[in-house]
Subunit: 329 residues, 2 copies
DNA sequence: TTGTATGCGTTATCAT
DNA sequence: ATGATAACGCATACAA
């Protein structure tokens, strides 16, 4: 037995089993073959511990069963949750996940798209901050939370509806003077609609509101100063605050408590995302929960089944409110 | 121009540039070639938007520049942090990351190892819960937090030292009656040494201590009941608790506060891991911080440079205490 | 039903 | 220095 230390190939299996190469291939791929042949091949496979070489297979078939997933990072719990769900979905469909973290850098995003193209992935699922991302025609792409125009389908949650729900909930809980707070890129992405929904609901109900919106990179102390400006005689001007993310909501709650203002007794706060402590414990704050599993499932479906009929260009999934301690039940 | 819609190959580039195939390959790989040839090839590459097919390359060279990373999930902040750091490290070294989530399931772990082998990855970095994981000789493996024996190098933080540091810190802060709490698999992995370190330090200082250790799958209410049993006249028997993870520490703190016992005034708590709210904000609790970046760097180094001299079989990296609100100061 | 031969896109070994 | 050609491991069309 010429047992070199390199992994066995189909040829080795064929020799071991005393059959032809094509027969081995058929057995491996579940194509019917004479019973006795099948058994002999299977024995040889087991004996040699044979593993099909996906690189050879991918080269031949032009299918890699691999999808690239591109997000800013993995430490933000929302991204982590999203990637986790996408992974599960891909795994269920027998696909591998090649992961790229962009750190919000448009240049890196473009480089990773090129890498993914080289890897001949079956598709790219991206949460991109590059408004002019270029990607080859030949590789399917689905975008999360950013609408690139008709060519690239976009999956997002109902950000507008979420903004409205937050206002409705705060109103229902007795709030009559609201504030919206946001920090983030100026790019026109879907999450911007959280603000639109907030405004729309406030105006419909005739609720006075204030917006505090700052660009990415602004120190968070800007929010603290803003809050201090709105405290008179130890009382905050607002009795309800809607924050663009749970992360911001928690920061705001911390500032307020530090200023001696009680949450939720004096002011109620609702965030957005629906992330949980340690991934599976309670919500960090009362929040508008994004349907992460459905978003992940939709992304994967669109990527893997896009050829059957043009897929919808923008799918918007429903959100819901969840109590997390920063509202009155 | 026969412009089929399939991506251009080297052959197309060669034809476009009017040179031979080998010349194109050399240009692509930075092998010196006549100036005029190089320019023509580069122009053709740009014009056709050519991308090297890594599957063909990988098949030929038997190197894929891809590393498989296997963790239980991505939503636990510690795993998320770890994967994030490993990703950065791989990315710096121009490697791709193929990610597998095992959900703590030994069967899935074994299947993923086979998948990774098929993918011909350059190595596998795993945080495994399968004590008898089988992996082909030909693919390098590094294990995190579990020592498999001499063949497979293991990277972990100084769990024993961390346990000692926790005790020292609690003692220094005035605690004189300690408890250790743990939930997790019975498997002998490195984190078990947190308990050993705790005991060792307690005995060295002659501090009375109690252990509350339950198996994976036990409901958390077991801890709550345990605590209730140790409350007399509204006072807890212990004045310091060391928990095996930050996650558990936060749960314990929650139970205690619910029972009217103040943290850190009545009892101080130290966790383990050093995870932060939203990945980048404050620590969840006072904690023993694992050197995640160093662990990631070490894993990647061991995987990518293992052939030069036998790599150490067990590397243990230093941890440190950090204040996070559940201790005094 | 089984075996043989060709080619996927690339690198590398040859002559030229 | 450059161009033709043989593998890499597999799937598949075709011949037996």
């Amino acid at each position: 037995m010429a047992d070199t230390n390199s992994p066995p190939t189909m040829k080795d299996v064929a020799r071991e089993a005393g059959v032809a190469l094509g027969t081995v291939s058929k057995v491996i791929n579940g194509i019917p073959v004479g019973e006795s042949y099948r058994v002999r091949v299977e024995e040889a496979v087991a004996k040699l511990n044979y593993r099909v070489n996906s690189y050879a297979k991918g080269l031949k078939t032009n299918k890699t069963s691999t999808v690239a997933v591109m997000v800013p990072n993995l430490v933000s719990p929302f991204f982590a949750m999203l990637v986790n769900s996408i992974y599960r979905e891909l795994s269920n469909r027998k696909h591998r996940m090649l992961l790229f973290a962009t750190d919000f850098d448009p240049t890196q995003e473009q480089e990773y798209v090129i890498l993914a193209e080289q890897q001949k992935v079956d598709g790219i699922i991206c949460l991109s901050y590059n408004p002019e991302l270029k990607v080859a025609e030949s590789v399917p792409v689905v975008s999360i939370d950013r609408y690139f125009g008709g060519q690239i389908p976009c999956v997002s949650s109902d950000n507008f509806g979420g903004g409205r729900i937050a206002v409705e909930k705060l109103y229902e809980n007795g709030c009559r003077n609201l504030a919206f707070m946001r920090i983030g890129s100026k790019l026109t992405n879907e999450p911007n609609k959280r603000k639109e929904g907030f405004i729309s609901a406030c105006e419909m109900r005739n609720i006075p509101y204030t917006l505090k919106i700052v660009d990415d990179g602004t120190p968070y102390s800007a929010f603290e100063e803003f809050l201090q400006e709105h405290v008179n005689d130890g009382r905050l001007d607002f009795d309800g605050i809607f924050c663009v993310t749970d992360s911001l909501a928690c920061r705001i709650a911390g500032y307020l408590r530090g200023m001696g203002i009680r949450v939720p007794e004096d002011v109620q706060i609702i965030g957005f995302d629906g992330v949980r402590r340690f991934g599976d414990q309670e919500y960090f704050c009362s929040t508008i929960v994004q349907p992460v599993d459905e978003m992940a499932r939709t992304c994967v479906e669109v990527i893997l089944e896009r050829d059957m009929g043009r897929s919808p260009s923008l799918v918007c999934l429903p959100v819901e409110y969840a109590y997390g301690g920063t509202t009155r039940s």
